[in-house]
């Protein structure tokens, strides 16, 4: 139930002013990035600054692809993030199902461990993790990076999926079992279709986490041709004279996939399910 809002009166005016300020604070930086990305290099530095580009240009974007290895970084990021989603879901889905549907000794301990590990920050394990990956010969490989991302995606994926499986009534499965379906069949035809939105949402949160990571990629990857976007862009920025038009267009392009998948999951986020859906 929502209380009807009267937009008149001082309360309404105050509310609108608050919302406008909030919106300006969160959205304006993005708008400025996009505006800069489409400006010709000389217009970027004019004083007084213009908001709307006097002529829209793709110069910055084409320079980004022509003069840097942006396309390579992009391909690497897509590969590593997709690999992480596949591995995390393949392991977390049966795991979460087991944690909600079976009784065995140690189940609660496992759940508690998962919640504990969820609170870990990368900096606390990065040093031993790096030494371990070096010993295994996995430093400077995409596989090593996928494993690193799985470490911090797995706990939250298990936790989210567990919540989701808990919301599927047990009676539905029991009915299927009573009707003579096997456990595998009841999972295949009853549980999975109902759990699918949760699995998809969890996959998307995993994708965003892997796509956004900086620290693991920084430490584990040294070869330029293996770098992912966040590290590639950070290096681009640090290179020499900052090419603001190019950097802003890089930032804009990295956000496109995030924006696309965010549209799908944002309603889960603000509805509260998966409020812990992402860490950072």
């Amino acid at each position: 139930m929502t209380r009807a809002l009267r937009l008149g009166g001082w309360r309404g005016a105050l509310l609108l002013a608050g919302v406008a300020a909030l919106l300006f604070f969160t959205a304006f930086p993005f708008a400025w990035m996009i505006a800069t990305a489409f400006k010709a290099p000389r217009e970027i530095f004019v004083s007084p600054p213009t908001f709307f580009p006097s002529e829209l240009t793709l110069e910055n974007v084409s320079r980004l692809f022509a003069q840097t290895r942006f396309a390579t970084y992009l391909a690497n990021s897509v590969l590593v993030a997709s690999g992480t989603v596949a591995l995390t879901l393949a392991i977390a889905t049966p795991g979460a199902y087991s944690l909600t549907r079976f009784r065995y000794r140690g189940r609660e301990t496992i759940s508690a461990t998962i919640l504990f590990v969820y609170m870990f920050a990368p900096i606390m394990i990065i040093i031993p993790f790096y030494v371990l990956m070096r010993t295994l010969g996995l430093a400077n490989t995409h596989l090593g990076l996928v494993l690193a991302y799985t470490t911090f995606c797995l706990p939250f994926a298990l936790w989210l999926l567990r919540t989701f499986f808990q919301s599927i009534p047990l009676e539905l499965e029991e009915a299927a079992l009573t009707d003579g379906a096997s456990r595998a069949q009841s999972v295949r035809y009853v549980v999975l279709p109902l759990a699918l939105p949760g699995v998809v949402a969890t996959g998307i949160f995993t994708f965003i986490l892997a796509w956004n990571d900086y620290i693991f990629a920084r430490v584990l990857i040294s070869a330029d041709e293996l770098k992912t976007l966040p590290v590639g862009i950070a290096d681009l920025y640090n290179a020499s004279v900052v090419d603001w038009g190019m950097i802003m267009s890089a930032g804009m392009l990295v956000l496109l996939p995030v924006l696309a998948v965010f549209v799908v999951v944002q309603r889960y986020m603000v509805a509260g399910w998966g409020s812990g859906g992402i860490k950072g």
Binding site: G95, F102, A148, I215, W244, V254
Partner: protein, 292 residues
Amino acid sequence: MARERSARTGWLLVLPALALLCALTLYPVGYGIWISFFDKHSFFPGERFVAAANYLAVFADEEFWRAVRLGLVYSISTIALQLGLGVGAALLLNEALPGRNVLRAIVVFPYVIPTVVAVIIWKWLLNSQFGLVNYALETARLVDEPISWMGRDWIMVSLILVSVWQFFPFVVIAVLARLQTIPPELYEAATVDGASAFRRFLHVTLPQLASVLFVVVLLRSIWMFTKFDTPWLLIQGGGAETYIRTLPIYTYMRAFAYYEAGRGSAMAVVMFLMLVVAAALYFRLWRREESL
């Protein structure tokens, strides 16, 4: 018998997840504690047992204590601002506004972007020569000369600004979720009793939010105190890097700039213990509040 078989299936299904957690998280944590007692180079094999020497070196290191102080300044100020802004924004976005869902999505968005993008956007806005923020301040005659946002006097302020912008949506998400479950009857009863909007917030909303705020403060404290990428990326190329060298940054440098994996691990362990102690105190404090 059926129960035993089902217990076995349950174990088999959770086993891969458990194995991966042990191999890739719990084992490294244990290994990190182990090498904190060794003199170990980050790249080359071989190590030498030095007992507590790494820990003694850490505690005797002025730079370490400075990093702890800077880390505390950073986390306490960002958490306070995130809470204030986050709760305020959540209350606003809980009103029946037109286009409310779109508004909510926009406000949450900074939380899901790569940190490197947040940092480059703000580095451009805060650029001392061509940045829009300095232009606006000068045009409004609030300052006489451009502020050097990445200079030593202002870099902590800039870091706090970027971090609050990036992370306050987490508070919005959590609080908004809780606000939606507060029964409207509570407000109606309070209104009938003649409570003003402010008193309704104080006596109805706030107590209902207490438990979610407890978790939010806990998680944000852990994640802000261990935050690496925002300060690290902001530091680059400024010349004022020592002014935001928080504990995670210094730990990272020990391991990957000085190549001292043993000492770096010792710092990571100390950081972890600090968090455990802080969390224990926090839980005790909370319980006392509850019993009052």
